[in-house]
Symmetry: C2
Subunit: 384 residues, 2 copies
C-alpha cells in the first residue's frame, strides 16, 4: 500500500502529461470546454490557491477586482436573460442546490427519460422520488413535452426537470412549450442546459424556465470544476437564504462556491462565449454535414433528424461486424483513430458511439472522416 | 445593466491580471496554497475542461491515467494514515457531506467556539442544531477539549467537530485527547484540518478521529477549488452508498466531484507536500521568531503561547493609535506594506490582523519586519 520514497512519488505525480492534448477531439464532454487563449493566461495568473480572493470583503461573488461581481450580477444574467445567477461547482451541483432548496425528502420530481445520471444522484441525495417522462423509443428517442402533463396531474411533483439537449442523443425537446406547461400547472421548472449554455443561444425567460444550470468545463471554455445556476427573482429568497449568524453567507452555497481559478477561466472566456453562440447555426450545419458523411459510410445516426445539435450518437453495428473479421479485433476502431491523431471515443467497442463536432474546424473533421473511411471501405461488404 | 458590445467584455475580462502575484504574501488563506512548479505544469497540461477524463471508465477516482486511482486509493490514505479518502471541492464541502450523511435534520452537533463560519453554514444546510464548546477567552482563547464531555452528556450530539487549528488564532487544541473522548462516548468525531493537512504531519488514526477534512487551495499547494475527506473504514458504507441505478456513482459525491485541473495540481504537488510536512518544526520556529519580533515592536500576539502554528493573530491597538496622528490616517498600514511589496492584510484597519509565515523565506519575512519597523518606530511613544 505505502509509497516507499519521495522519489517514487515524484516519478508518479510530478510529470503528469496529457497525451491527447494535441489531438482532434470527438468526445462530447470535451469539445465545448477547450480553453481560449485568454483563459489560458488567466490559468497561470490565478493558479495559486485562493489568489482570486486577494481583495475579498466577505463573499466571493462580491469581489470587485478581479471583476467577479460584474460578471455574476450583471454580465452573466444579461447573457442568459435571467434575473439572478450564482456560480456552482458544476451543473450537477446546481441541480442538487435547486432540489435541496425547493423540496423536502419524500417529495416527487418529474424528469425526462433522457436525463443525465447526475440528475438521479442529485435527487437521491435530496431524498426525492423520481418519476420519468418516457421518450419515443425507436431511433429518434424524442421527448414529447406534452407527456409531462398527465404525470404532473398524477404525481403533483414539486419540480420538473428537462435535459436540453440530453447527453446521449443530443435531442433538443421543446423546452419553451414545457415552460408554458410549467406555468399553467404552477410547478417550478429546472432546465439542465449543460450542453447548451455556452454553445447555443439560451434565454431563461424566453424558455419560461424557473431555473437553468450550465457547465463551464463542458460548454463554456473553462477549466473544471465550474457551473452556472440561473434563475428567476421569485426564487431568490428560497434558494439563497443567508446564515442567521453570517449575514453575507448564503447557506445553500456554503458561503462561497468556486474559490479558485476555474472562475477566472470562465470570466476570461466569456467574451468569446458571447461571440461564439452567435455562430450556432454554422455549428448545426457542420454537425448535419458530418452526420451525413458518416451515414453515407454506413453508420446510422440515432436521435432527432434533422439533427439540431453538435452532440450525436451513431449506431455502430457495422463496427461490430468489422471487428469479427479485423486482425486487430475490437481494438481496430480506437487504434485506427488514434493513429490519425483523433481521440475521444471509448476504448473497445460499444453498441453506439457519441461524437461532437463542436468548435472543431471542418478541415479536422475531414481528417476524422478519412480515418473512418480507411477503416470502413475495405469492409464495406459487411454493411447491412 | 447590459453590456453593449463584445469589445466592452473583452476589455473587462480577457486581460485579467493578479496584481499581488509577485508580492510577499501574509494572508493565511494564501501562504499554503501557492503552487509548486510541478503543479504549474499540470495546470497548463490539464487546463481544458474535462481533460482529466480522457480515459475515464465511469468514475473520476478510478481513472488510471493520469493516476487518480493510485492517488485516491493508495497514496493519500497512506499520507493521512486513513482507511479511505475522497476528493471534495473543498474542506467545507467535506464537512457538509459528513454532516448530511451522518445526521438527520433536527439533530444536534457539537462544535468548538473557534470554528470557521463554514462549519455553521454546512450544519445549517443540513438542518442541524449547533451547540458550542466555548474557548478560554482572554488573550489565548484556548479550546479545552475536556469541555466537550459535559456537553456530550447533556446534548447527545450526533457528531462532534474540532477545528485544528482554527483560522483566527492558529490554536492547536488537543485533538488526540478529543479522539479518546469521542471513543469513550461513542460519538463520531470530525476534525477540520484545513490549516493542518498539507502543512504539518497529520494522522487520522493517531488522533483517533473518524473524519478529517483538508483544503487543497488553502494548505496543499493546489489551485482551487479542491479538498480532501479522509475517514475510517467503518463509515464508508454510510457515507458512500451508491445510486440504486448507477452502481459506480456515489450519491453523496453526486457521482464525481472535482472534474478538472485542481485535482491535477494537487497530485503534482503531492510529492512536495509529503516532503514539506517533515519540515514543520522549522516552520513553527520561524513563526515564533516572527511573533517575537512583532511583539518587540509593540504588537501583542493573541492565541496560544508558545505558538505552535504559522497562523497568528496580533492585536493592533498600536496601529489604531498611530492612525489617529498619521498623515495617511487608517490607510497608512496597507499602503506602507504595499510600498514594500507586501500583501495580504485587509484594507483599512481592524482591531487585529492575521498573518501567516508559512513557506515564506526568512529573508522575505525580514523585509516585512523592516516595513513594520519603518511604520512603527517613529510612533513608538504611542505604545501603551
Amino acid at each position: 500500500m505505502a509509497y516507499s520514497s519521495i522519489e517514487e512519488l515524484k516519478l508518479r505525480y510530478e510529470g503528469l502529461r496529457r497525451p491527447f492534448r494535441e489531438s482532434i477531439i470527438l468526445n462530447p464532454l470535451q469539445t465545448g470546454g477547450r480553453l481560449t487563449e485568454a483563459a489560458k493566461s488567466a490559468l497561470m495568473e490565478f493558479g495559486d490557491g485562493y489568489s482570486v480572493c486577494d481583495h475579498c470583503k466577505g463573499r466571493l461573488d462580491t469581489i470587485v477586482s478581479p471583476p467577479v461581481a460584474d460578471f455574476v450580477y450583471q454580465d452573466l444574467p444579461t447573457f442568459l436573460d435571467a434575473d439572478t445567477v450564482r456560480i456552482m461547482h458544476g451543473a450537477r451541483e446546481g441541480k442538487f442546490l435547486v432540489m435541496h432548496a425547493m423540496t423536502s425528502p419524500g417529495d416527487t420530481i418529474l424528469v425526462d427519460r433522457n436525463r443525465h445520471y447526475s440528475t438521479d444522484v442529485a435527487a437521491e441525495r435530496s431524498g426525492l422520488k423520481i418519476v420519468k417522462v418516457d421518450n419515443s423509443g425507436g431511433i429518434e428517442r424524442r421527448i414529447n413535452v406534452e407527456d409531462y402533463i398527465p404525470l404532473i396531474k398524477e404525481h403533483k411533483p414539486k419540480l420538473i426537470l428537462l435535459t436540453y439537449p440530453d447527453g446521449n442523443y443530443g435531442n433538443l425537446p421543446d423546452a419553451k412549450r414545457l415552460g408554458e406547461i410549467a406555468q399553467e400547472f404552477e410547478v417550478p421548472y429546472l432546465l439542465n442546459a449543460a450542453y447548451a449554455m455556452g454553445r447555443m443561444p439560451l434565454s431563461l425567460k424566453e424558455i419560461g424556465a424557473d431555473f437553468m444550470v450550465g457547465s463551464g468545463h463542458k460548454s463554456m471554455a473553462s477549466a473544471g470544476p465550474i457551473g452556472v445556476l440561473a434563475l428567476r427573482k421569485k426564487w431568490e429568497e428560497q434558494l439563497f437564504a443567508v446564515s442567521p449568524n453570517y449575514k453575507t453567507k448564503e447557506v445553500e452555497c456554503l458561503g462561497c462556491t468556486v474559490r479558485g481559478v476555474p472562475l477566472m477561466t470562465l470570466m476570461a472566456s466569456f467574451p468569446s462565449i458571447v461571440e461564439r453562440v452567435k455562430h450556432w447555426p454554422e455549428e448545426v450545419e457542420k454537425a448535419q454535414w458530418f452526420s451525413k458523411q458518416l451515414e453515407d459510410l454506413g453508420l446510422q445516426q440515432l436521435g432527432e433528424k434533422p439533427h439540431l445539435h453538435d452532440l450525436m450518437m451513431f449506431d455502430t453495428d457495422l463496427f461490430y461486424q468489422i471487428s469479427l473479421v479485423h486482425p486487430k479485433k475490437r481494438a481496430f476502431l480506437y487504434d485506427g483513430l488514434k493513429a490519425k491523431g483523433v481521440s475521444g471515443l471509448k476504448h473497445g467497442l460499444t453498441q453506439s458511439m457519441k461524437i461532437s463536432t463542436y468548435g472543431t474546424p471542418k478541415v479536422d473533421l475531414e481528417k476524422v472522416l478519412d480515418a473512418f473511411k480507411e477503416m470502413i471501405v475495405p469492409y464495406a461488404h459487411l454493411r447491412k
